[in-house]
């Protein structure tokens, strides 16, 4: 009756996949669960487009027919950030309710468990993204071209994962759902302190400095390029590198946090 467990790439992938599917239950099996994650960024997108739409008339603004083209990348990233933060909140709930002990006590390698927890956020980030894009095109945003779209969605998925890792790291640290505002606020700040509202040269005061320093600005510009102009490798690679860096950084925090759960 004594059992042995052998871990191969295949068995790790199977464990990751089953955790992704479990996370998917949150929106597939709970009626209306997907709505808040879609509604909030959509409201902000439409609202900010109609409020600040005439900013595009300022000299120095990219030549675009609609402010929606300029703003949609921000909303795409916000949607991904919100989805990722929700992963952290769900994990905090799982920790509070004892479910997470099940994962801690299993022999699956910790990185595989973490991957299973956060990869679902990558995929789920595409749900608000799809809705936002549909709405954006309806209100006049420009088609970014296939390359622009692919780059944008890739970075949206990356943002979802980075946000999930951030939320997960906080969940391991605080082990309570009341850390939710911190999870959401972190992503919110990171995405807004960029060239979210206007190009770098038109930003004023502290925000100009912050956007220059904030690496997420590169991610935003990489997502935005197709919507407001031509896609180029020079505008793409900084975003990809930054995204990879964020994933690695937050991933390291999250992994460390998971290991400390048993302390």
């Amino acid at each position: 009756m004594a059992g042995t467990v052998v871990w191969t790439w295949r068995s790790q992938a199977a464990a990751i996949w089953i955790l992704i599917r479990r996370a998917g239950n949150e929106i597939v099996r709970v009626p209306g669960a997907a709505i808040p994650g879609v509604l909030a960024p959509t409201i902000f997108f439409l609202g900010l487009t109609s409020v600040f739409g005439n900013l595009r008339l300022l000299p120095g603004f990219p030549d675009t027919e609609s402010y929606a083209s300029f703003l949609i990348p921000v909303s795409l990233l916000q949607g991904a950030g919100f989805t990722g933060a929700a992963t952290g909140v769900n994990l905090a709930r799982d920790i509070e309710q004892g479910w997470f002990d099940r994962l801690l006590a299993c022999p699956a390698p910790r990185p595989a468990v973490l991957a299973g927890l956060v990869l679902s956020a990558s995929l789920r980030a595409l749900v608000p993204a799809a809705v936002l894009l549909a709405v954006a095109f309806l209100v006049g945003a420009e088609w970014p071209g296939l390359a622009g779209l692919v780059i944008a969605l890739l970075l949206v998925m990356g943002m979802g994962m980075a946000a999930a890792l951030w939320g997960t790291a906080l969940a391991f640290k605080f082990r309570t759902q009341s850390a939710a505002p911190l999870m959401q606020a972190g992503m919110f700040i990171l995405i807004l302190c960029t060239t979210a509202y206007a190009p770098l040269d038109l930003l004023t005061g502290w925000l100009h400095t912050a956007a220059e320093i904030n690496p997420v600005t590169d991610v935003l510009e990489a997502v935005r390029q197709g919507f407001v102009g031509e896609v180029s490798w020079a505008d793409t690679w900084p975003g990809l590198v930054t995204m990879a860096g964020l994933v690695l950084l937050f991933g390291a925090f999250a992994l460390r946090g998971m290991r400390k759960m048993t302390d």
């Binding site: 808040p36 509604l39 909030a40 409201i43 902000f44 439409l46 609202g47 900010l48 487009t49 109609s50 409020v51 600040f52 739409g53 005439n54 900013l55 008339l57 300022l58 402010y67 009341s178 505002p181 606020a185 919110f188 700040i189 807004l192 302190c193 979210a196 509202y197 206007a198 038109l202 930003l203 004023t204 005061g205 502290w206 925000l207 100009h208 912050a210």
Partner: protein
């Protein structure tokens, strides 16, 4: 007369409780300060060059323009937050205990709103101080600042009354919490963040008639230009209108609860 005094005492006591709750758990109230401040900072930094647009009104700075919107946003959130706290009281059974006491049911609502008014006043003072620190000027001076505090506190009460009426109807905090996105819809459809004449349609048309816009103007004018009788009266009328609506809805909800027996 003694009944009035007794109820006034209840209102004061419940108001104190509400303020104490907020003070003892600042992490719950901090989003009311942090979120609007953050948005204000980002919007001023991000859209600040809007003052260069030809149709933009004459202002000392974009911050001066935006302060009113930040305050209105904060007091919408304060009203929502007070309503959530009221709903939680209902879920916990605390409201039932109050309703079983020999006090006016309305006093229970007013008590919560008294606390919300205090919160609104605090938020007004906070944003005035913040604005002054970062270079804004209140053209109407001290009188203007006092006026702003009064109107913001009143607005918090007005929005709180509507929120509490929803809490009374539904009895669940999560429903009230779910109204949060709606607050932003109303804000975006007003002149809270940009002048009406520079909004895109359909926001521009809606903003022109949105009572929230009148409140925003009533707060904005003393900062950027000085008192305007029309704007001030319109602001007061809006606050009064929202308050009356909210209180009427609360009264109806209280009656409905009494009929249901729960």
């Amino acid at each position: 007369m003694s009944a009035l005094l007794a109820n006034a005492r209840v209102v004061a006591e419940l108001g104190r409780r509400s303020v104490r709750q907020t003070a003892r758990r600042p992490q719950l109230a901090s989003p009311l300060v942090i979120f609007p401040t953050l948005l204000l900072a980002v919007q001023v930094g991000g859209a600040g060059r809007a003052v260069d647009l030809p149709q933009f009104p004459e202002v000392n700075g974009f911050l001066d323009f935006m302060l009113a919107g930040a305050m209105v946003q904060a007091c919408l959130m304060a009203g929502n937050s007070g309503a959530i706290a009221f709903a939680i009281d209902m879920e916990m059974g605390f409201t039932d205990r109050l309703m079983a006491a020999p006090i006016s049911r309305f006093a229970i609502v007013l008590g919560r709103l008294a606390g919300t008014a205090m919160l609104g006043a605090f938020l007004a003072v906070y944003f005035i101080a913040l604005g002054l620190i970062f270079g804004a000027e209140i053209q109407e001076g001290v009188l203007g600042a006092i006026w702003i505090v009064v109107v913001v506190a009143g607005s918090a009460v007005a929005f709180g009354a509507i929120g509490v009426s929803i809490a009374l109807r539904t009895g669940t905090a999560s429903v009230v919490q779910g109204l949060f996105p709606l607050l932003f819809v109303i804000l975006f459809l007003s002149n809270a963040f940009f002048p009406t004449n520079l909004l895109l349609e359909p926001s521009a048309t809606v903003a022109e008639y949105n009572p929230l816009s009148f409140i925003v103007d009533g707060l904005r004018e003393p900062i950027v230009a000085g008192f305007s009788a029309t704007d001030s009266l319109a602001a007061l009328a809006s606050v009064a209108g929202f308050t009356a609506l909210g209180l009427a809805l609360c009264a109806a909800a209280i009656r409905a609860r009494a009929m249901r027996g729960g």
